[in-house]
Subunit: 227 residues, 2 copies
């Protein structure tokens, strides 16, 4: 059932850079391609945009199809459209950027349509298909930037988390040590998280659990959160 147009049209896809934390490393979800071009190579999950859905819906759908993940922070990253980025012809891709909680990410391996999906630590990526290496590099810059200027860190954590867990998340992504007292003061003064009645017990003193405040403004204006 062919579709005909007076002028040539590029194909339009969405790709998603999904970040999570696994074993104290920032990791990105990749699928192994079965078909040419780049058969056998790893690539970002993604696919064609259907005619009836928004771009964000397309990204959400592809993410769910490939990983089974339903809830995630999703944000448009950039649109890549160089004429030669896909050897099959002109393909323009709108790239989204997703953060998912560490505990949810465990189920992501596999995926529905028999593509092999796996998490790869960002500091140890295989060669990637298309321009996906460049895309991931840009997504990481954006992620670091978001964590410095907004309070997006809890998107990578379960619903309730301790301040130490949150701090470690920031340290992993920013790649630097943070002072515990200063971190706590800043994150609490920013008013984006609130204590819950629960505690997490473990080896030492039990830790208060916090959660994200729904009514918080995500954007921390005017200053970096951390030095």
């Amino acid at each position: 059932m062919p579709y005909t147009y007076d002028y040539p049209r590029p194909a339009l896809t969405v790709d998603i850079v999904v970040f999570t934390l696994r074993e104290s490393r920032l990791s990105v979800l990749l699928i192994q391609r079965k078909e040419p071009p780049f058969a056998g190579m790893w690539a970002l999950p993604g696919g064609f945009v259907n005619m009836g859905e928004t771009l964000e819906e397309a990204a959400q759908r592809e993410l769910e199809e490939e990983t089974g993940l339903q809830e995630s922070y999703l944000e448009q990253l950039y649109t890549y459209g160089n004429p030669d980025r896909d050897p099959r012809g002109r393909v323009v891709t709108v790239v989204y950027f997703a953060l998912i909680a560490a505990d949810a990410s465990i189920q992501a391996e596999g995926g529905s349509d028999a593509t092999r999906a796996a998490w790869h630590p960002v500091e140890d990526l295989p060669p990637l298909a298309f321009d996906h290496t460049e895309i991931i590099a840009y997504a990481m810059r954006r992620l670091r930037y978001k964590l410095e200027y907004t309070a997006a860190g809890f998107e990578l954590l379960p619903e309730e988390f301790t301040l130490t867990e949150l701090q470690i998340t920031y340290e992993i992504i920013l790649g630097e040590q943070l002072d515990k007292r200063n971190f706590r003061r800043r994150i609490l003064e920013a008013g984006i998280i609130e204590p819950t009645p629960h505690m997490r017990t473990g080896e030492g003193r039990p830790a208060r659990l916090y959660r994200y405040r729904d009514d918080a403004v995500a954007e921390i204006k005017a200053r970096r959160l951390f030095p």
Copy 2:
């Protein structure tokens, strides 16, 4: 000469939000539509992406076709792709964001292909076609943000400019008064502009002319430039 595909494809366009300063007001370039839909209404300049060009080249080309303008700061803003944003069918548009110097902007009226182009102050926009009102609102947020965190103000000025002119540019866009001494200290310490041997004479004491330093890093890290 029709083009046929196995699956339907959205049309792909670029639109450009071109900002300039005119008569001390931040203004945006609009063209008046001649054809339906929205015939007679104002809209952003833009058009279809050719198969052989990058998205940025398409934006540059459309800008030049509609305005004759060749040099400008151009940056990708966002991609809008709601299925119902164009009554003719599915049209996805990659929006770019351009800043052009005040003196260059004088020639922009008219444009090559008989479309009527005109500058409109952003605080006094007519009703716009498609989702272009929303797009301009977002572009303004991005412009303010850029001026606060980076030193993009000189993109709206001629090659050589006085510090007072630069300060007024910032004041117009940010919508607040800035302290002269603090402004000068900050902008000079940022190292993004350098003095030229030239002076501008006028009614009072002659003013030193400055220019942008090519080797400067555009991004001022870590802090807002102004209060």
